[in-house]
């Protein structure tokens, strides 16, 4: 069948990675937040803000690394809202998350319209980093091993995160904060501080995810460019159950489903855009149903911690 030609598979994998990297970053960030007991419904808004700021910075400086940095900082700034309202004041995480999404959508759309709708600037293409030797391999070489450098940085971050969660003091405190915050408090560790760090980390990573989407994926910013990716990242994090490598897997799988259209067009199969856009969401529902018994969320997820409120 035409489907299994090397060209198609390479294109599919390459496009899948491009689409999947934002999910990788965002779901890794959400993993940190969820392990600490925070449910970030506003992730979509954080990614969107990261995308916009990255676009702005990259356009102004001409350097996509500054753009990525800008995305990270913007993501952290938006996360501060969650930190102040939810972690420190104990207000409802979901309501604040919805507010973040609304504000981010509104703000980025307005600013984009004011500054860029006249010119619709595009960014130069971000160069690929071709891994020596490995990038000569068939199929995998052209896709997996020829990606912008940030992708490999991302994978390295995943590796470090996996190690950190299991083997460092902070990782232990993180898991405790999500399971039994009162036990963590009794052990003399600040629950608020642990959750704050987790949330800011989540913001930075999600911001980078959004930035990648704008800089590499789309090459520009359009309002609502994330189109539900933030919500998919939440699901990936839930399924990952605190194991960062699953962010990579999940990102790749959903990324491939997102990029099916592009790949299929190459072999002349025309599938309506709407169907293709629905695929990731349908996959999520299917995966959720199949693995419904398998997932375990931290017990204190979504619950604010207020000392002495027993």
């Amino acid at each position: 069948m035409d489907l299994l030609t090397p060209e198609f598979l390479t294109a599919l994998l390459a496009a899948g990675i491009v689409s999947g990297v934002p999910l990788l970053f965002a779901s890794l960030g959400e993993t940190f937040a969820e392990q600490a007991g925070i449910l970030n419904v506003g992730l979509e808004g954080i990614m969107l803000t990261g995308a916009f700021v990255a676009f702005m910075v990259a356009l102004a400086t001409g350097d996509h690394w500054f753009g990525l940095l800008g995305g990270a900082v913007a993501g952290m700034a938006v996360s501060l809202i969650m930190v102040v309202f939810c972690v420190r004041l104990g207000l409802d995480q979901i309501v604040v998350g919805i507010a973040i999404v609304l504000c981010a959508e509104g703000a980025t759309s307005v600013l984009h319209d004011i500054w860029y709708s006249a010119t619709y600037p595009r960014l130069p293409v971000v160069p690929d980093f071709r891994v020596p030797f490995l990038s000569e391999l068939p199929i995998l070489g052209g896709s997996l091993f020829s990606q912008p450098l940030i992708v490999y940085v991302g994978v390295a971050i995943v590796a470090v995160s996996a190690w950190a969660i299991r083997r460092t003091r902070w990782g232990l405190e993180l898991r405790a904060a999500g399971e039994r915050p009162d036990s963590l408090d009794a052990a003399g560790v600040s629950v608020v501080r642990t959750r704050t760090i987790a949330q800011l980390l989540c913001g930075a990573l999600a911001g980078v995810g959004g930035a990648y989407l704008a800089l590499v994926g789309a090459g520009t910013f359009v309002p609502f460019v994330t189109n539900g990716m933030g919500f998919i990242a939440i699901v990936i994090a839930m399924l990952a159950r605190g194991r960062p490598w699953w962010s990579v897997l999940g990102g790749l799988l959903f990324g491939i489903s997102l990029s099916m259209a592009t790949a299929l067009q190459l072999i002349g199969v025309q599938i309506p855009v709407d169907v293709v856009q629905m695929l990731p969401f349908i996959s999520v529902i299917v995966v959720l149903v199949v693995f419904v018994r398998d997932s375990r969320l931290p017990s204190a997820l979504g619950m604010p911690y207020l000392r002495g409120s027993r």
Partner: protein
């Protein structure tokens, strides 16, 4: 011997000894109540100080102050003679005060070693080698064996408590505080704990033991201080305790606690150990019909908890069947499968001869099967809702409270007022949020709800847990009155004294199975203890 404490100041045999911990005029108030009222106490090295008081006397608040969770409004704390301010749990631990809470503070999904390293690991990376070494040291001192890689959730409660003690002693402690440590233990577990405490005493630790059980305080304490309504109302030092018999001590303490009312409340099981033949209940009910029967019932446990496997027993009308066992051995599963909240995967339940295994919760309620849950605040009532609404929550949609679908608040309030009067529920009004009432009054409201409207079988889960003595008395009287009316009663309790006081027969629950059903009698406690020990050893050997 491991370094539990660096030196042993205050252990001089001659001259004055400096207390390990001294509280002077500690006062702490919350809106509407003074929890601690100018409390002064001394805990000496190498001694066990028992803090005795009923629920609500202020013990927990005091312990929270000592451990750094609360700050006192006034008064001072001195550790080894030096005045200190315990501003957080971390400070408390640095000062050498180790705390073992009543509700275990370990994290079930993490391993033993991870729990011990939490909050204690000096560097960025977890240093398992050092932690293992320290664990070995301390477990030797305690005389227990611990598997560092086991997940806490898989350990028995007694073992978890040993880990809690180890954690409390981790950084080197001068003082160990135990908050109601025996409430979750088997008789064997209690004996082990006493051994452990003896070892720690010899090592020079000062131990503060909080309890509401008089016989425990007398058995374990070198020094007993009695707390009542936030104040220290009396103290018995080692000199006092040495000269008196156990009975004398008990009488003296009862007098201190209750004054002239002593006689009235002396009948509370907490104050006595043993079976009182005067209050014996007839165990022979072969003539009366069986109202509830379980046959080979199996139901799954919730995450980490035991379910029920192959349970069979029958309850007759007017009989009180006690279910004994350590917490977490399937009590909740049993209660919920009878109530209908949990589905049985095997077996049958019969109510007055008719099978009800597939009936829903509300259908069983209508038949007269009631369940008084132990989780008052989070399952039994809706805290923010008024007392009046809570009293009719199991009758949503029924007349006269809902007429043709519409709510009738007048009718609800009328019934509420009646029930409030009948059950002596202390509440400012029928509209007060029930969460604002004391634990005792919430329990009375739960009783009012479950025991009205023709109950025929009532399951009580830990009905007197956390209540003050007077309410405990009242609840037990109601249970007896219920049985006297011909209602079949099941009382699930971790308090053996209570079960012996109330039950006609006692079933022993161990790891989800009924290990045996015994008639109540003079040596019931011993026999039940033996049964528990027997199945425990058999399980350990397996």
């Amino acid at each position: 011997m491991a370094e539990i404490l660096p030196a042993a100041p205050g252990m001089s045999t001659a001259g004055t000894t400096v207390p390990a911990v001294e509280l002077s005029a500690i006062t702490k108030a919350f809106p509407g109540v003074i929890a601690n009222d100018r409390i002064s106490l001394q805990a000496m090295h190498g001694e066990v100080l028992c803090l005795l008081g009923e629920n609500g006397a202020g013990k927990s608040t005091l312990m929270s102050i000592l451990s750094g969770l609360y700050q006192p409004d006034s008064g001072t704390i001195a550790v080894d003679g030096r005045e200190v301010a315990i501003t957080s749990p971390r400070t408390g631990r640095e000062l050498g005060i180790g705390m073992v809470y009543q509700h275990l503070s370990l994290i079930p999904t993490l391993t033993v070693l991870e729990n011990l390293m939490l909050g204690s690991n000096p560097g960025v990376v977890l240093d398992e080698t050092a932690a293992l070494a320290r664990l070995t040291e301390l477990s030797e001192t305690l005389g227990v064996h611990v598997d560092p890689t086991a997940r806490i959730g898989s350990l028995a409660l007694g073992q978890q408590q040993h880990i809690e003690i180890i954690k409390a002693l981790w950084k080197g402690s001068k003082v160990l505080i135990l908050d109601e440590p025996t409430s979750m233990l088997t008789p064997q577990g209690i004996a082990e704990l006493q051994k452990v405490l003896l070892g720690l005493k010899t090592a020079g630790l000062a131990i503060i033991f909080i309890t509401h059980k008089l016989h425990e305080a007398i058995a374990i304490g070198d020094r007993v201080s009695i707390l009542k309504q936030g104040r220290v109302v009396g103290s018995l030092g080692p000199e006092d305790l040495r000269g008196m018999t156990a009975a004398d001590v008990q009488a003296r303490i009862v007098h201190i606690m209750f004054g002239d009312d002593g006689g009235q409340v002396a009948g509370i099981a907490e104050l006595r150990e043993g079976f009182d033949p005067v209050r014996a209940r007839r165990a022979d009910r072969s003539g009366t019909p069986v109202i509830l029967e379980l046959s080979a019932i199996t139901a799954p446990g919730a995450r980490g908890q035991h379910g029920i496997t192959d349970a069979s027993f029958a309850v007759r009308e007017g009989e009180i069947l006690g279910i004994a066992g350590v917490d977490g051995n399937g009590q909740r599963a049993l209660a919920e499968v009878i109530a209908g909240q949990r589905k049985a995967t095997a077996g049958e339940i019969r109510f007055a001869g008719e099978p009800i295994t597939t009936l829903s919760v509300s259908q069983r309620q209508r038949l007269g099967l009631r369940y008084v849950t132990d989780d008052r605040l989070h399952e039994g009532v809706l805290g923010r809702y008024p007392v009046s609404i809570n009293l009719v929550l199991k009758r949503i949609g029924d007349a006269p409270f809902w007429r043709r679908g519409a709510i009738d608040r007048t009718a609800i309030n009328a019934t509420a007022r009646e029930l409030i009067r009948e059950f002596d529920i202390r509440t400012p009004s029928t509209d007060t949020s029930i969460g604002k009432l004391s634990g005792g009054n919430i329990q009375k409201a739960l009783l009012a709800r479950e025991l009205s409207f023709d109950p025929r079988v009532v399951v009580f889960n830990k009905p007197t847990h956390g209540l003050d003595v007077r309410t405990i008395n009242m609840v037990r009287e109601r249970i007896r009155a219920l049985a006297a009316r011909g209602v079949g009663v099941i009382v699930i309790s971790t308090d053996l004294d209570e079960l012996i006081d109330l039950s006609d027969r006692v079933a022993v629950l161990f790891e989800g199975r009924i290990a045996g059903i015994l008639d109540n009698g003079p040596d019931a406690a011993t026999r039940i203890g033996e049964l528990l020990v027997g199945v425990e050893s058999a399980a350990a050997a397996a």
